[in-house]
Symmetry: C2
């Protein structure tokens, strides 16, 4: 009934060697005489033997799999990171256990624990909020963890990001240079550090430098979704803003279309600049001006960093900032 698995033991018998030797050739241990290796390989091939990774994991205490916690695969920002993660994971022979968390603190803790129970060798965490409970799990666990595209204000855990303060500052500056005085800042919850601490700071810095008074009424907190963007247009308009810096591409395109459907001329009457430069920015009409950031690379570098940590290599810098830029496309003058 059971799929009669053929084991290392079968191979050993057939090849008239010990299982230790078979193990050695399977693992590329050089201490095997070429002739022996050849013989074993031949039997492995003939028997179609496939090593059982679970047994291997138990014996070696390494599973060559890493856990990836993602708010939502369906969000292009995160899936772009995930792609980078998976590609370098594959490159280093790791597999990925992917788990959606919905940015839900409780689910994050739960998911992290099942990943640790599965003995993943490392974890990549994406999420805008490092809650106390998830932080507690992080510190308790000895498993290496890296944040990708997610900041930890305490800088306790390793992370790969861009400089959100500077990036938003520069984006805001662009809008100021275009003679906008009332610039809306629309993004997710300010209780998320990336918004409330980093982006907001950049926004304020730019205003201050231009001697524009900061007006809380121009700050909008909402969800990262297309619908939310469409919905919030009326309020942004009512606030008298002539431009907006937005923290998420779907949100930004929602706002763009909200304005467009309201017969506002973009960019002449209203300018927008978004944050993530995902492929959506090229899809909208007009195309979205944006902060550019290497999404794929953020994921890739995070995974690379994690491989080093799993390898117990010395890490010179736990917090990696990748370069960003600004592209002006159709939503800015």
């Amino acid at each position: 009934m059971d799929k009669q698995t053929i084991t290392i033991y079968d191979v050993a018998r057939e090849a008239s060697v010990s299982m230790a030797t078979v193990s050695r050739v399977v693992n590329g241990n050089p201490n095997v005489k070429p002739a022996t290796r050849k013989k074993v390989l031949e039997v492995i091939d003939r028997l179609d033997y496939r090593p059982n990774a679970v047994a291997r994991g138990l014996a070696s205490k390494k599973t060559t799999t890493v856990g990836v916690i993602i708010p939502d695969v369906t969000n292009i920002y995160f899936s772009s990171l995930a792609r980078g993660i998976d590609d370098v994971a594959t490159m280093y022979k790791y597999n990925i256990i992917l788990a959606n968390s919905d940015e839900n603190g409780q689910k994050e803790v739960q998911v992290l624990n099942t990943l640790l129970a599965k003995q993943v060798d490392g974890v990549i965490f994406m999420g805008n909020q490092i809650t106390d409970s998830i932080r507690a799990e992080f510190t308790r666990s000895k498993t290496p963890i890296v944040l990708a595209g997610s900041v930890d204000p305490e800088a306790q855990v390793a992370s790969v990001n861009i400089d959100y303060v500077e990036a938003i500052e520069e984006a805001t500056n662009t809008l100021i240079r275009h003679d906008n005085q009332k610039i809306a800042f629309v993004t997710g919850s300010l209780s998320e550090p990336i918004n409330g601490q980093y982006r907001l700071k950049g926004y304020k810095k730019a205003l201050a430098q231009a001697k524009i008074a900061y007006d809380p009424n121009l700050v909008f907190e909402t969800e990262y979704s297309y619908k939310a963007g469409e919905a919030i247009w009326d309020r942004v308009k009512a606030a008298g803003a002539t431009a907006a810096v937005i923290g998420d591409d779907e949100l930004a395109i929602g706002l763009l279309n909200g304005a467009g459907d309201d017969d506002v001329n973009i960019p002449n009457d209203f300018e927008l600049i978004t944050s993530n430069d995902s492929k959506l920015t090229e899809i909208s009409r007009p195309k979205m001006s944006s902060i550019t950031q290497p999404l794929y690379d953020i994921g890739a570098v995070a995974m690379r960093l994690l491989t080093k940590m799993m390898n117990k290599e010395e890490i010179d810098n736990q917090t990696i900032l990748l370069p960003y830029g600004i592209v002006e496309r159709g939503t800015t003058k």
Copy 2:
């Protein structure tokens, strides 16, 4: 040095019971006296014991993880399916090992093999082409496999889909009803059964029924990408088409914008209808008319079916077709 793991053995000792008993309470086996259970639970809590899933997997020959092979997480069609898969997987206490295949036959085989080596309890495969080599692996393996949003013309392996023939036929009919005579059919490679066999058949059926001659020059094969859509507009226009049925949303929006940027009035001068009803269809301006299909549910149902197979339950129908529809939004008259 090693994170001194605390094992079932430690718990047994501390609670003065046998490891078998601990195992029982951990696994919710009812044959444990309440008092004993309580005592064990207390120790588990005090010692912060976490069962090792790898050891459990080796002993029980079940890993409670399933492999998911996806062409590209970054593609909204597939990530929508993946979301459905992950949600019901979580519901049934399974984890997902996610692997990108790039629709590359060789990589698919490779990835499938490493998933099987990791002893996944089942596999969900997404991909438009069941190559002979991947089919060979499918048949060789005793592990249950379900296709999600991907057809197997041989109907050998279980799958969850919509009826692509009928759906495209109906989409084409819609365009015919709007008085279009020259309707382009633009999609991915015709060597993929979903295109060359199913969708093309639906397209031809609709034409035949309307007594419109089939013209191969109106059939366009390209990549599933935004860029490809933009690029192919000139050829579609040159062919004299007044409308198009498109097999992928990104591709469709590329075509839409290609036409729009060429000052073609949509939908008055050119109509489009796409296939997947992903959230992109609401983002474009005008919004895309589309075949509707329950992407999330396709993934969810596929995973549900897989749980039944892993459970060795009797399956009445290996091939599940979910309902589809047609929504006319802004790209059709």
